[in-house]
Amino acid sequence: MVERTRSLSPALTAFLEGDVSLMLASRDAAGWPTLGRVLACDVSSDGGRLTVYLARTPNAALVAAVAETGQAALVVTKPSTHHSIQLKGRDAAVAPAGEGAAPVVAHHVTGFTRDVGLIGFSTAFSRTLMAHDPRDLAAVTFTPEAAFDQTPGPRAGDPVEP
């Protein structure tokens, strides 16, 4: 881990909240890694905390692992350009998604649909992939301590300035 970040830069915040695809990973107490698709990402106003929203039922093991270990790795990719960033935290906590989640998720699904549309995936495809029960949303919040370039290539994994 590189040093604890103070806050995410405006550029990185804009990327996270833009037309991107999001995946979250954690691991359970026994060390097994698991992962799942995230529906939206929200950066706190001071840039110091990240909240991601995901459907709880299809990601039950992931949500349980986060609750168990607090470990979180979030990959944020813009499918049309392959540009990709990974953020990591170890204080992740699970909570029910609040009232504010629905518009954030709706905004993100629209952005995701737009971007994968650029590389040939239909609206039906992306809407189906992102379909969820709004009553089944969980919120995972963590402090991003490190950020890594994840764009495919030999530099994938290099630390970047958050």
Binding site: G31, L35, P58, A73, L74, H82, K88, P154
Partner: protein, 445 residues
């Protein structure tokens, strides 16, 4: 994990249309996600991931072999989680070459040509697959059943009685039963270094007699590694000397060139080559291609591999069949008429030219030259395969099993390129040389 399903049932997720994601963890338990350009199906219990860079995922699996993959079916959007355990890395051989070819197609399709380069095939044991609950789209209705087509094709091949019939049946059925418009059958020569085309389907020029070196393109790699090679998107990495071929075609394939142009598509987007094997021996390669991307998937590969395995077994069977039937009655053969045709033979490579046009070389060239000399010296027209095997000047390799393939090649080449000579089958292991014009034979040093 509950609701475990078989890896075979979700291979459409492994075509690289939608990148899979993998979660790993390091020794300290810090998780990591990587996007995977290729998850390769090996067998129902194993997948291989492309190792291209020494990245975090690679460091993690060396420290902690457990990982979870998330996969998406590109048609139904069904999602799966697969728990795997890292076993080993292969850096050469059939698995590596299959993945390298497929990765080249994926790389050029995703704008990553030159970035994606396979360093190794990381082999993982599949421990369990779970369906991720979620919405799906209806699966598209297929326009054919590959299993039914495979069965029918194999039944028809099993009914064939000689090599020519097997080759014709194969290409006919590829089109009729599998909807494949461009295909070839190539045979391996005994020395093992090259493959030559004996049957083809759907090309402007048949390319009968054209040669591919072992290791060249998907056909040559499939032959060398004795494994199926399949590309789902166009890639220049596996192109067949296209510039040379095109210029040769433009020149009409004439002149002193002693190469028959390879017939392949100018811009193939999908290619599939499966080895034809019999009793552990490489007999040849069955090859299909298409201008359409993603034309051949894992099931097509299985189908053609099955057809190739029956074809290989049947080639083995017809080779063991009784030799020549009794010689037929001498047919009334028309006397050659008209101006003499000039045939040149170059002993160095057994190439034969008819009226200064290249016709054939190698073993097939030697056979032709022996036949026309027999005709000139003894006015013979009826021949048997057996006497060809015994003729010392034909220089067939020891215990050659490919004489029939050479004769088919010669017969087809004559039909396409020579108005003066023709070979006609007169019975099992017997044929007739039909000479339309008088021949003037000339041996070149």
């Amino acid at each position: 994990m509950s609701r475990d399903i078989c890896l075979d049932a979700i291979r459409s997720c492994l075509e690289g249309v939608i990148p899979a994601a993998i979660a790993t963890a390091d020794r300290e338990g810090v998780p990591n996600i990587s996007v995977l350009s290729q998850v390769h199906y090996m067998d129902p219990a194993h997948v291989a991931l492309s190792y291209q860079f020494f990245n975090k995922t690679r460091r993690n699996i060396l420290a902690n072999p457990h990982a979870t993959l998330q996969l998406i079916d590109p048609e139904t959007v069904a999602q799966y989680r697969m728990r795997v355990r890292y076993l080993r890395t292969e850096t050469a051989g059939p698995l590596f070459e299959s993945m390298k070819a497929k990765l080249a197609g994926i790389a050029s399709h995703t704008g990553m040509a030159g970035v994606f380069r396979l360093l190794g095939a990381d082999v993982f044991e599949v421990l369990g697959i779970e369906v991720v609950p979620g919405a799906t789209l209806p699966a598209p209705v297929r326009n054919r059943s590959l299993l039914a087509a495979t069965r029918r094709c194999c039944e028809r091949l099993s009914a064939c009685t000689d090599l020519e019939e097997l080759l014709d049946r194969t290409v006919t059925d590829l089109r009729a039963l599998f909807g494949i418009d461009h295909a070839m059958v190539l045979m391996a020569d005994e020395a093992g270094g090259r493959l030559y085309t004996v049957a083809s389907l759907g090309y402007r020029a048949s390319g009968i007699g054209s040669e591919i070196a072992l290791g060249d393109g998907v056909i040559g790699v499939a032959a060398r590694e004795r494994t199926a090679i399949r590309i789902t998107h166009a890639t220049s990495d596996y192109a067949y000397g296209r510039a040379a071929r095109d210029s040769s075609l433009e020149a009409g394939g004439a002149g002193d060139a002693r190469e028959i142009p390879f017939p392949g598509l100018a811009a193939p987007h999908s290619q599939l080559a499966v080895p034809i094997l019999a009793g552990g021996e490489l007999i040849g390669v069955l090859f299909a291609e298409s201008p359409e991307a993603m034309r051949f998937c894992y099931d097509d590969e299985d189908a053609l591999a099955t057809v190739a395995s029956v074809l290989g077994a049947m080639i083995h069977v017809v080779r063991q069949s009784p030799a020549a039937e009794p010689a037929p009655e001498d047919a009334a053969v028309a006397e050659p008429r008209g101006a003499p045709a000039r045939l040149h033979h170059h002993a160095a490579d057994d190439s034969v030219f008819v009226d200064h046009q290249y016709l054939i070389k190698g073993v097939a060239g030697a056979i032709l030259w022996w036949l026309v000399r027999q005709h000139a010296q003894h006015a013979r027209t009826e021949f048997s395969n057996r006497e060809l095997r015994l003729a010392p000047c034909i220089r067939l390799p020891e215990a050659s099993e490919n004489l029939e393939a050479r004769l088919i090649l010669l017969q087809r080449r004559l039909t396409e390129r020579c108005e003066v000579l023709r070979l006609e089958k007169t019975g099992r292991g017997r044929f007739r040389l039909v000479v339309q014009r008088p021949l003037a034979l000339e041996e070149m040093g």
